[in-house]
Assembly symmetry: C2
């Protein structure tokens, strides 16, 4: 059996969780659920599957110390630092180059640090099954059994079943689709033939690099130039020179939609995207009034709101479906239905030069 490595992608800035998330304190470094940060949860989840030396992290240079502080058991050299974030395809490519040096046929488990998974036991079993399938050369993706017709995720259409491994059915993946309309989402979920694209992939490094070579030759070329200077003093200058010139690209759009031999393993693991404030309502328990509260809150007729404080008492009267996020230097108040505008707020603050709170 070939060796197996995890690659945790911990790069994003997460402006949608502002003012909790900041440039210097990205989403992954936040304590959103329980006492541990999202990144700590991501490492904890796979701690029984991988040795610390087998866990790699792709992140921005500026986040290294924060993440290393949270997972001091990981070797410092396992943090692969992007000079600038360019989307998931380059990040995964960089990981693949590093892992190939260790084992040309290594199985690589691509995970993210901004998801919440309730059923960790099933998740681990699914990863083990996926690694077994990946060894055969398939590009494996975990598809999340949809719990509702979400228009916020991409969907994977499954075809014929190819295997069953440890109770997990493995299907040929027919098609990756972008975020659908409500009607399409409803039909897809009803058909039972679609799962959510979780962004978790399991494959051999030689296979994914093959796909890069075929579908993203420019990126592949850059990756090979980096490969040539790996473990030499030229590595960092080369990365610094080449990385900013890449075009940002997601692995879904850049590779998966056109990849050959993709399979999907549907899993029901209590998965939630922690992409925005309303997702917190799915993850955290609500009180009797439907409020998700962190910190001290006293409400009079306050319902179905997200109240993220902790630093001072938050008193609310007559609020419904509201987001309140209170931090040391910035306070956000916004109706849940306007939450997509949090990005615009961050943009506006950037333009205003309010860097202290970004």
């Amino acid at each position: 059996m070939s060796s197996c490595y995890a690659l945790i992608m911990a790069g994003g800035g997460g402006t949608r969780l502002w003012p909790l998330s900041r440039r210097s304190r990205p989403k992954q470094a936040l304590t959103l659920v329980g006492e541990r940060t999202m990144f700590e949860h991501a490492v904890d989840r796979i701690a029984s599957l991988f040795q610390p030396e087998e866990i790699f992290v792709v992140t921005g240079e500026e986040h290294l110390e924060t993440l290393l502080f949270q997972a001091p058991e990981l070797p410092r050299q396992n943090f692969l630092l992007e000079p600038v974030g360019q989307g998931t395809a380059p990040a995964i490519g960089l990981g693949a180059v590093h892992l190939r040096r260790r084992d040309p046929q290594a199985v690589m488990v691509v995970l993210t640090a901004d998801h919440f998974i309730r059923d960790v036991e099933t998740f681990r079993r699914a990863l083990a099954a996926a690694a077994e399938v990946a060894e055969k050369g398939h590009l494996v993706t975990l598809g999340i059994t949809p719990s509702f017709p979400s228009t916020g995720f991409g969907y994977i259409q499954q075809g014929e079943q190819l295997y069953e491994v440890d109770g997990f059915a493995v299907f040929r993946a027919l098609r990756f689709t972008e975020k659908p309309t409500a009607e399409t989402a409803f039909r897809m979920v009803e058909s039972g033939l679609y799962t959510w694209n979780s962004g978790m992939f399991i494959w051999r490094v030689d296979r994914i690099l093959e796909e890069f070579a075929r579908q993203m030759p420019d990126l592949y070329d850059v990756l090979m130039q980096i490969d040539a200077v790996l473990d030499t003093p030229a590595y960092e200058p080369t990365l610094r020179r080449l990385w900013p010139e890449l075009s940002p690209q997601s692995i879904d759009y850049g590779v998966m939609e056109g990849a050959q031999d993709v399979v999907v393993i549907p899993v029901d693991i209590g998965w939630s995207d922690v992409g925005n404030w309303s997702s917190m309502r799915e993850i955290l328990p609500a009180d009797a009034d439907g409020n998700v509260v962190v910190g001290e809150h006293v409400g009079i007729e306050t319902r179905n709101s997200i109240i993220f404080g902790g630093r001072r008492l938050i008193a609310t009267i007559g609020l419904e479906d509201m987001i309140i996020v209170d931090t040391d230097d910035a306070l956000l108040i916004c109706p849940l239905e306007r939450e997509q505008d949090v990005r615009e707020m961050v943009q506006r603050l950037r333009v205003m030069g309010k860097n202290g709170v970004l």
Copy 2:
């Protein structure tokens, strides 16, 4: 001409301005308008009319140091300290007893520390005119020319005109009425014969004590017991013993409604009650979106709201007619139309034992 003294009533707690106002930091001690506190404004307004020794203050024992710090020019013994607040009638009675000792026919100008007055020059001229009328023995009240049919104030009905003093018409006051219904308020304002009860009174101490003797004999009896020990070591123990046994009573209900020889001087002085958050919209200038903002605020589609911060950036999206008050240890968020429930919130916090934020 008899001597003239000011008595500033600075007792109230002001729970309606929570979380800005606290037990230890009552409304009068707050910086709501400009750089000075409400109490400082109250003293400043009359500084050109009275010597510091002529300005008295009735307040709670617990507020002495705060207020003395804000008006160090006032003699410490001019702060008349109530062991417990019992409404305006006892507070004014206590003041009257003290002032009578200085001059049995002293004119006493009763002022409050929780109002805002825009046209201070006219206010001062009105006080001088009122003092002149009070010397004759009338109980004078300043009536505020109504700017809208408010249901939040008491009204004074004026009868025949008795004098004109320095351009101010002086009318016999026919009746004091409690807060009216909207319909009644509309009719009263339309008639042109009613003014708002400002709570500012000007009278001779012998005259008001006469009214106490006639209309509030129990209070008068207590006042005379205190009078008997004035300037002796028995004063404080006597006050402490008698004061808590009084029944709380307002001067309006206890005296003015049944008083003889009351006159009203209508004044148009840009007067505002600073009783609650929405009153701040009348007093403070609004920005282009109709928001009254103290501190740093960035809003996306936020309108007609009161945003009282200062300690951190407040970012709001899609809010309208909202009150946001941010302090070091407590944050209040409440629609303007629910502002009467701020009292209930304070009650609830009291029951919960959250004394740290009260």
